[in-house]
Amino acid sequence: MTRTRVYVPRDAAARSVGADDTVEAIAGQAAQRGLDIEIVRNGSRGMLWLEPLVEVATESGRIAYGPVAAGDVPGLFDANFLTGGAHRLALGLTDAIPYFKQQERLTFARVGLTDPRSIADYIAHGGYRGLTAALQMEPGAIVAAVTASGLRGRGGAAFPAGIKWKTVLGAGADQKYVVCNADEGDSGTFSDRMIMEGDPFVLIEGMTIAGIATGATRGFIYLRWEYPDAKIALDAAIAAAYAERYLGENIRGSGARFDLEVRLGAGAYICGEETSLLESLEGKRGQVRFKPPLPALQGLFGKPTVINNVITLASVPIILDRGAEYYQHFGMGRSRGTLPIQLAGNIKRGGLVEKAFGITLRELLYDFGGGSLSGRPIRAVQVGGPLGAYLPESQFDTKLDYEAFGDIKAMLGHGGIVVFDDTVDMAAQARYAMEFCAIESCGKCTPCRIGSTRGVEVIDRLLTGDNPAKQEAILRDLCETLTYGSLCALGGLTPYPVLSALNHFSQDFIKPAAAAAGRR
């Protein structure tokens, strides 16, 4: 009899709710019952409310059970779950679960499917086909394919990746670099983490292609310290790629060279800003640089540098494998391809949804997300991290598209959607946005460094009810200074959450006069 394969994610989110205990229980029960099974620690399928999600490989496909706590395991064995037996936690075929089935998984095609420690598994599931294609192409043709795909930076700024690459390709230098921005600091986002833990090879492949396309021979992944599991997964994958000669000198006999290593950040949100990240990689304080010069011309150690987000780079292999047209055919307007969207906060079915651009917020929140976790009405969602606008229910029909979000003074950012129910105090959220900016400001420019602290103070005064019209005018004026006077997006975008809270939820900023009198 062949060994039955059981999949239990090693993803940090799955582990945070007991996946390791579940694995231990499954192994223990199997041993006790004399059953020969193989446990594979895969990535997460992204249905995080179902974690730990246990899957069993059967003749008809992978059958899911979840969420499986260690205590549920003996019952699952009693119900013959190894052959897909019925059980109250049974979810049927994983691929048929509507949340999963209705997605368009391009970048995340293998996450949850494969063993992220196995390069053989990666290759068996279509991995390294993009690199193989790229090795047959001229650098200019690779760059042209990325440009034609319409891929824009998924970190938040949405700058066309191909244009950036073209600048680096055209720059003459003795050394060029590829830097991956894996400092995923936005609250409500975890797609970078999931792909680094669940399919690290796709990022390595994407960076290798970027190196070959632009003439860069050395790469760094700048990873935040808060992701220790991703560090382990990446280090293991990089070692495997070197062993199989997918990294190093003479990649797969092509003569091309690319070296790659992981560097850890140290808890500074600002280091997600590209120039600050480069300073940090150079061993300095993570302070923002003036632009120009562009990093594409003078980046890491003053050399031409491709710097892209994890998802941007991880989307490159499929573009080279299936062609620019295939990728470009997804999406709407100038937002092409797919976006891995993260449903977070107070949401019933939180997780990762990869969809083509054009889906509405409402579809995501209710069709996928199932409404709030608390069961109360959803009052506000913050899209795009701590610098993203708070959107009220009246804007839930906005389509996920860079331009559509820009039109309503909001931004898609890295695709995180944080849901709040009707117990949220939007004045407190606005104050927090200023407080966060004050904590994380790098201190280089005055509007951000001082304006954020003044912002907290003005909001506090506004909430005491002390001449609120005047305080509001000062707050709006301050936001204008931050927007137009800051050096980077931290100061420049902090007004988004503040002003959207003030504009859409103004009633939260009016405190009862009695309370105001009491505080005076």
Binding site: S187, R193, R263, G416, V424, F436, I439, E440
Partner: protein, 171 residues
């Protein structure tokens, strides 16, 4: 033309003044020796020291500065810029509690209040028995399963106040 008198070189070996213990000094020296030639070595060295000692002793600053040919001010500047690096020894377990929006939406503020009261310390504090240090963190990437904390390197999701107490009581 008269030849120039030979240039006198006064050998000065600047040894950084440091009162690190012998074992701490060995750790810092080892980190510097292993890493000082990598490009942008300062952060990797600081990480290595903190990984080994739990913190970066103030007196390691002149040693690292000397090894990297930087000023002490530059090393101090980097050390103090990053929230993760700590100058004081932590408790036996470091608990990072997420304060960011996604966790706020599911009760992070209540958890924060509970944690501070339960441990009797504020953020950046260590319990008097040296068991636990409490630190704020802004996102652990577990935003669909909040409120989240990290104990050492181990992420925990759906942390209710009761679950927090359980985790703190666990050995």
């Amino acid at each position: 033309m008269s030849s120039k008198p030979p240039r006198r070189v006064i050998p000065i070996k600047v040894e950084p003044v440091s009162s690190l213990s012998a074992s701490e000094r060995a750790t810092v020296d080892d980190a510097c020796a292993r890493l000082k030639s990598v490009p942008g070595a300062l952060l990797p060295i600081l990480h290595a020291v903190q990984d080994a000692l739990g913190h970066i002793p103030k007196d390691s600053v002149p040693v690292i500065a000397h090894e990297l040919n930087l000023s002490r001010a530059e090393v101090h500047g980097v050390l103090t810029f990053y929230h993760y690096f700590r100058k004081d020894p932590p408790g036996r377990r470091v608990v990072h509690l997420c304060r960011a929006e996604a966790c706020q939406a599911v009760g992070a503020a209540e958890l924060e209040t509970h944690a501070k009261r339960r441990l009797g310390i504020d953020f950046h504090g260590t319990t008097s028995d040296g068991a636990i240090s409490l630190e704020p963190v802004y996102c652990l990437g577990n935003c669909a399963l909040g409120p989240s904390i990290m104990i050492g390197n181990r992420l925990q999701g759906r942390v209710t106040p009761a679950r927090f107490d359980e985790l703190m009581n666990a050995p």
